[in-house]
Amino acid sequence: MSATKLAPRDQGAPDYTACLHPAMAKNYGKWVEHERIRPGVLVYTAESGDKLYTVRAGSPRTMSPTTIRKICDIADRFCDGFLRFSMRTNVEFSLTRQEDIEPLMEAIKTELGFPIGGTGASISNIAHTQGWLHCNLPATDAAGAVKAMMDDLIDEFENENFPNRVKISTSCCQINCGRHSDIAIIVQHHHAPRINHNNMQICELPKVVAICPVAAIRPSVVDGNQTVEVVDEKCMYCGACHGQCPSMEIRDADTDTLSIWVGGKGANTRSGPSLMKLAVWGLPNNPPRWPEVSDAVRTILDAYREGGKDWERVGEWIERIGWQRFFEKTGFAFTKYHIEDGPNAMWTYNRSTHVRI
């Protein structure tokens, strides 16, 4: 590369105005109404009376240039050469000619093999993380579990049969890049990190000691090497040290398990944002299709569909019926591990006599 002239730096975000469908550009800030024609298809009406149809298609997020080009081909044919991706890695094709909706949907299905849906009270695409494909920390894969789950849930993507939108995410380690969701799958470790003392980076030592939230790591010397040791009794297996220093290995293929969390919500609607909470733990890390995870998610979804009132998100439904009923209706066990510990624990206890009996 040494001969190459450097390209311009620090250009920032591309000019979006050049990327807007003409109807979007024209009616920017002047939309007045939307309606769902059918699952996966919305129509937006502008002050001008213009109508913009949008067809939402589920993507696997990770795509080859071939697939990207197929998407572009379709957008060129039906959407004046524009398209967008949604916050949940769906592809959105917008068009102004109503009569093109059917042919467009046909093209999406046959040429891309992407399902159409993810709108309204459906299950949209599952947010997921890098997993074994690219991250250095994962204890499981995320894309594989998502593919398996979505195979199972495809009807729920293509229809709008829930009390409200259902957002699902999976993460491949406890760091949880997948964020809080109505339903989230994450990993748990079950013993303290093992240390590769031969390989400890001196430069990392102070950082790795500092990052432990419970001060379980202390400097030590093994075989004359500066290294660290972990106080087993204190360690809560969080893996923060592992992220800081790869010689602290937190993962264990034999003992790592998956767990499912429910009720995370970012929307400020009604009760506002809320963190997700533990529903089921101890599911096996079972590639390639993690059937136990799909089953448990399905169990939660069925109970939610049956018990939720319109507009209640998963967490709001559980809040209303109470956790006791949640466990009754899903059949999962409530254990002492479901009870929060740590500094904020008291705030999660039932500080009233409000109980369902």
Partner: protein, 430 residues
């Protein structure tokens, strides 16, 4: 040095209380007027008022605490010595005796007069009915007077209340004696627990104080939820009682909007709906908060299958900040002897675990905050129940004993990855 009772008031300087006198004006009954009057009978009360006047003037307090015990008891007396004993010799010892009142604060005039008589006889005779924990407080005894009063009280069927690191005197609402909301017998429960645990009340040997307060229903008129380590609160299971005719009458009288605004929208779980002139309650989701019953108390009543919810942990803010009571037993019947045994069995186990593992001055709520509710339940042999929590945990870091490596068959196969490369930090050339 204790003085003879007869000495009291010798050289009494006379009242000089210009500031306190300002508390005699106004329509609300004045404790100052009452005590001034009383000081004619009990001269030491004049000294008390004079010292109080100095407190008002200097915004300063002149009492020092000490310890005084009646034979066989480790508590019940709040002993005070005046810093101004030179000036007010009758305040040199000026103690309060805590006396267990009849549960629910019910008195025959015979009993109440008896109390007043004894307190007058042996001390300053000032009564406070009642202290915030629920004792009858009698103020103003010197050491000898304290001992004499205690004997006299006990000879008359009274007993000392709690203080220090002990079970404290219990408090309960009037309950079934006069309230249709009451879901169990608060007075009986209060007396039963007091007498069953009287040893723990009188001889402090806990980690720290322990208060039990008892309310007949979730309205919690006994201030149990915020004022006691262990609130016992009446409740029911199954549907509440609805008198549909009276519901219709109520709606007729007050109008639909009133019912929506005051009942329907106020239910914490939104489990009530209005179908014409009928209230429909989704009983599965009623959390027995009492609100709708309070509003429509002629039409709605607690259900028939009654019992209690037991909570644990409230205290005020010292050290770790306020703790609030949280559910420990969602529902317990409290009628038969066996039911009461279940209750004491539970309390025994909780006390044992707390006192075996607690720290000095650590109330049970602080103890639970420190060790975690999960550990506490396990230590007491109580099954975890989702009704104990408002929500399950948010922190993903869990110490799963069941899944510790030892419980897995065979050896750990995966060793730490050998990370044997120097970390590279590169920049594109030029």
């Amino acid at each position: 040095m204790a003085k003879k009772k007869d000495d009291k008031g010798t050289n009494n300087p006379g009242l000089n209380t210009p500031l306190l006198d300002e508390l005699e004006a106004g329509p609300w009954p004045s404790f100052v007027s009452d005590l001034k009057q009383w000081s004619k009978t009990k001269p030491q009360v004049a000294q008390l008022l004079n010292q109080l006047e100095e407190s008002y003037e200097n915004r300063w307090n002149y009492w020092t605490g000490t310890v005084l015990n009646v034979s066989g008891y480790g508590g019940g007396v709040i002993a005070r010595l005046s810093d101004k004993a030179d000036k007010y010799p009758d305040l040199a010892e000026f103690h309060t005796i805590r006396i267990i009142p009849p549960p629910g604060f019910v008195y025959s005039t015979e009993r109440l007069r008896n109390l007043a008589d004894i307190c007058e006889k042996h001390g300053a005779g000032i009564l406070q009915l009642h202290g915030l924990t629920g004792d009858a407080l009698a103020l103003g005894f010197d050491n000898e007077g304290t001992f004499a009063a205690a004997e006299d009280l006990m000879a008359n069927g009274w007993d000392l209340g709690g203080s220090g690191a002990a079970l404290r005197s219990l408090q309960c609402c009037v309950g079934q004696a006069r309230c249709e909301m009451a879901c169990f017998d608060t007075m009986k429960t209060s007396r039963f627990l007091t007498n069953h645990y009287i040893d723990f009340l009188h001889r402090p040997e806990f980690m720290y104080k322990f208060k039990i307060k008892i309310s007949g229903c979730a309205n919690d008129c006994a201030n149990a939820m915020i004022g006691s380590d262990m609130p016992i609160i009446g409740t029911w299971r199954g549907p509440m009682q609805i008198d549909h005719e009276k519901v219709a009458e109520y709606i007729e009288e007050k109008g639909v909007e009133h019912v929506i605004d005051n009942v329907i929208t106020r239910c914490p779980t939104h489990c009530i709906s209005l179908k014409g002139k009928e209230l429909v309650i989704d009983d599965e989701n009623c959390v027995r908060c009492m609100h709708c019953i309070n509003v429509m108390h002629k039409a709605l009543k607690p259900g028939k299958d009654q019992g209690v919810t037991i909570c644990l942990g409230a205290k005020r803010t010292l050290k770790i900040g306020d703790t609030m009571s949280s559910v420990i037993v969602p529902f317990l019947k409290l009628e038969t002897d066996e039911d009461f045994e279940n209750l004491t069995d539970l309390i025994d186990r909780m006390w044992e675990f707390w006192n075996d593992n607690g720290m000095d001055h650590e109330r049970i709520g602080e103890f639970i905050a420190r060790v975690g509710l999960g550990t506490f339940l396990e230590g007491c042999g109580i099954e975890p129940d989702p009704r104990m929590v408002q929500s399950t945990r948010t922190s993903p870091y869990i110490n799963f004993e069941e899944l510790a490596p030892g419980d897995f068959e065979g050896e750990q196969t995966q060793q730490p990855k050998v990370w044997n490369r120097e970390p590279e930090s590169r920049e594109s050339s030029s």
